[in-house]
Amino acid sequence: MKGQVLAIVLIIVSGVSTYVMFLSTMDSLTLTRDAFYREYGFADAFVSLKRAPESIKKRIEEIPGVQAVETRVVAEVKLKVRDFGEPVTGRLVSLPERGEPRINRLYLRNGRLPDPSREDEAVVSEAFAEAHGLEPGDEAGAVINGRWRRLRIVGVALSPEFVMQVRPGALSPDYKRYAIVWMGRKAIATAYGMDGAFNDAVIEMTQGARAHELMARLDGLLARYGGLGSYLREDQLSHRFLNEEFKQLERSATIFPAIFIGVAAFLLNVVITRIVSTQRDQLAALKAFGYSNAAVGAHYVKMVMLIVAVGVIGGVLLGWWFGGKLAGIYMVFYRFPYLKMTLGPGVVISVALITGLSALAGAIFAVRRAAVLAPAEALRPEPPARYSRSLIERFSLGKALSQPTRMIIRSLERRPLKSLLSITGISMSCAILISGMFSGDSIDYLIDVQFKRSQKEDMSVTFIEPSSWKALYELQGMEGVRKSEPLRAVPVRLRNANSSYRTSIQGIDPSNTMQKLLDSSLEPVDIPPRGIVLTDYLGEMLGVRPGDMLTVEVLEGARPVALLPVAGLVKQYIGISGYMDIDSLNRLTGEGRAITGSLLAIDRERIGAIYKKMIDMPAVAGTAVRADEIKNFYDTQAEVLLFFTFIATLLASTIAFGVIYNSARIALSERNRELASLRVLGYTKAEISYIFLGELAVLTLASLPLGFVLGHSISAYIAGALSSDLYRVPLVIKTDTYAFAAAVVLASAVVSGLIVRYRLGRLDLVEALKARE
């Protein structure tokens, strides 16, 4: 009994801790985000523009619904850090002359804000500072408006505006190569010729403000000043990434715990039903002594509730601890200054209810079944004691079977429901293992598709502003560069009926060899000369199909608006974009043959020299090396993934072990006498182990295929649920994953088998002869 109770407690602990871990992480991160946003005044609306005089600020403040406005000068910079040989892309954001900004305040981790009278003082983002070991007092080089400047770092800070510091276009945060730099307004304004002017504004809205009206007015006001279209939080880069991440996390926080707690509850129910059934005779004896059904039932209910209480408390504590760890891992991605861990009473109550009720249901069901019998009847062995020749034996095989084998088969066939339940339990734990691990396989596949078939360049270069094709030839001529192809990205808002989406359109030169669009079967397709091609996911979001018309609002330059036919949908796992023929895109924007960057094929050995040149090229805003991006993606994902896999494996193994061990123990108590009788007749320990473990082995092996199928379905569901703007998870499960899941299940079976075998070795032979069946 002790071992079985322990196994049940483990099952409960596993289920409950997963549930608590996910939900507490989710709640804590949400709480942390909301607190940070509130305490540091995260803006409600954002707008960028070419250049507007500071006097316009007043006009913005007068728009109904505007509570406060902060005007800023924002620019792209290129940084050089000590001995880090690669250019670092930076976003330069001005701080007000006096005091702190009212909106998007900085959380200073270290040091102080820049002195307005000093032109070289800067505060840098914490993630970047950490990645390079920078501290107040250190220096960094920066190309500000084409001129080299030496910056003195005076502070390290975090901002609600840059919780997720992802460089536009990158697939994961890269803290080494992307920085946020805050400097005094005057210093930046002077460098960019923005004295008495601004090119960026953030807005706090009043309670109940009409956001869309406000934006329309704002856009109207700023149109003359090259306004690029205002947007709300939901389109703000950091917030959107965070939102998508949270959405995914929330879905995981629903699916995984639901599966775990569901499986745990189910197993609990089965195990308790079976344990109570094996205690029929004790139950009957109690009744024979005059205990009422209710009294007998209460005894079991108390016992079950005690087990559940221990499991739930253990699970909540463990889950809380896991939750802290998981949230800690997320904190590396999400640059919050602090983490507010929380565990809602609702989480604890709901998990206690789910677990308690399912255990109770099992106990009551079993007790009832035993209790309705008259005591005398219950004292007799459990029906049906009728065996028959099994199906398998009827298929002629019969003659070749030894008696022990017959015993295995008949025992399995006599109670198909029991066998089925065991199989279901074991296969579910197998399925959980697969669904906890498949994401690793999917990500490998996703990376492979994205970078081997679609984005085949070695390095991509982005320019500070749209440039002419001459820049391309310049790059082409650079030592170490084998080939250079044009890149053109135009920020747009795409609209269809009521849905709209802010993204960019990539201009593709039909002769490009390094950037390929893929059709639904992942075969390369050419870019059509006319119309726009969309990522399939985007097409779905906007509700358009090939042949439909789509409104494209360009968010730069003259901001033309056009109605374009959707020429096709392309498969893409990472990001969301529109694609057009580069010439037709340039015709749309009316800017001639402009490019915003370039894709390069390079000699890897010359990369140092290439970086050196790039750092010195004023037009270059930044570089991204494909290999580094992949590595960085894995580095940032790996930790979360490893943690996930670790937890899933741990818990699923526990569950697998709990189920198998319990099945084995229950079977042992049911067959104790039979096996002892065989020992009396001269069967060796090994021979009776065969009968007993053989049954376990058959059940385990039968569970694997079912587990694979179940695991595949659950994974498919999870993959679908995890799809977001950031990336879609293809359903790919490698053979290794199946093999590993099978290995864990088999190992659990082997360990359970060994424990039970040890007990088999200590069967009391004499005892078995006394007891009446």
Binding site: A385, Y387, R406, M407, S677, L681, G682, Y683, T684, V766
Partner: protein, 236 residues
């Protein structure tokens, strides 16, 4: 009794210790059993009959003293040796039959014949006990007496050297009990299997070569029957 002793029991003591209390189930039993004889053990409940038989059958260990089977000391034998001893030499019959419910009568016998060295055919063993026509019935489809006869068929099917029966008729009415005893008697007579039968019933003692009386863990009397009564002439 010029025969070689099959069992030679010397100073056999068995003490069950349960915490502070210790129960002396056997207190120095000396006894020899000879080839081919049929011995009945009589005695009140708790006198140590089952304990003695279980030690002779290699199912239990002695606290002190020795039991040797054909010169081999069972009290010194290891687990594997005892298993081998039970497997190849001993046939057991118990009060509660201990049949495998998932196997038919024939298969229950085959359980033993499959692992024995010189077995009979299961069908033959069942014919000896008069169940040749019930080969394919499961235990649940047989009466108590029939089940006990299956157990006897199982015990004799390996052609054992000794047959140890612990209250084989304990759960049966007298008529059925007699059928079972007849089967045992016939095997003893025809196959010369050394047979030990435990019973509460002194009437049964009439069918034995010798009757061993036990009381309080000791042998109080060993009586030799000059005339053996066939079971069918016994009534109780």
């Amino acid at each position: 009794m010029a025969n070689e002793a099959v069992f030679s029991i010397k100073g056999l003591t068995k003490v069950y210790r349960m915490g502070e209390v210790s129960v002396h189930a056997l207190r120095g039993v000396d006894l020899d059993l000879y080839d081919g004889e049929l011995v009945v053990f009589l005695g009140p409940s708790g006198s140590g009959k089952s304990t003695l038989l279980n030690i002779m059958g290699g199912l239990d260990t002695a606290t002190e003293g020795h039991v040797s089977y054909r010169g081999k000391d069972l009290t010194r034998a290891g687990e594997a040796e005892l298993t081998g001893y039970r497997r190849f030499h001993v046939g057991f019959v118990f009060q509660f039959y201990n049949l495998i419910p998932s196997l038919t009568a024939k298969e229950n016998v085959a359980v033993v014949t499959e692992i024995a060295s010189k077995p009979m055919r299961p069908e033959d063993a069942l014919s000896i006990v008069g169940l040749g026509g019930r080969l394919d019935h499961f235990p649940a489809q047989l009466s108590g007496g029939e089940q006990q006869r299956v157990a006897i068929a199982r015990a004799i099917s390996k052609n054992p050297d000794v047959l140890l029966c612990d209250e084989p008729t304990g759960a049966l009415d007298s008529e059925t009990g007699i059928v079972v005893l007849e089967a045992l008697e016939r095997i003893n007579r025809e196959l010369h299997t050394t047979t030990a039968i435990i019973t509460h019933n002194s009437d049964i003692a009439a069918m034995a070569d010798r009757v061993v009386h036990l009381s309080n863990g000791q042998i109080t009397e060993v009586a030799t029957n000059s005339v053996k009564k066939p079971p069918r002439e016994i009534h109780w």
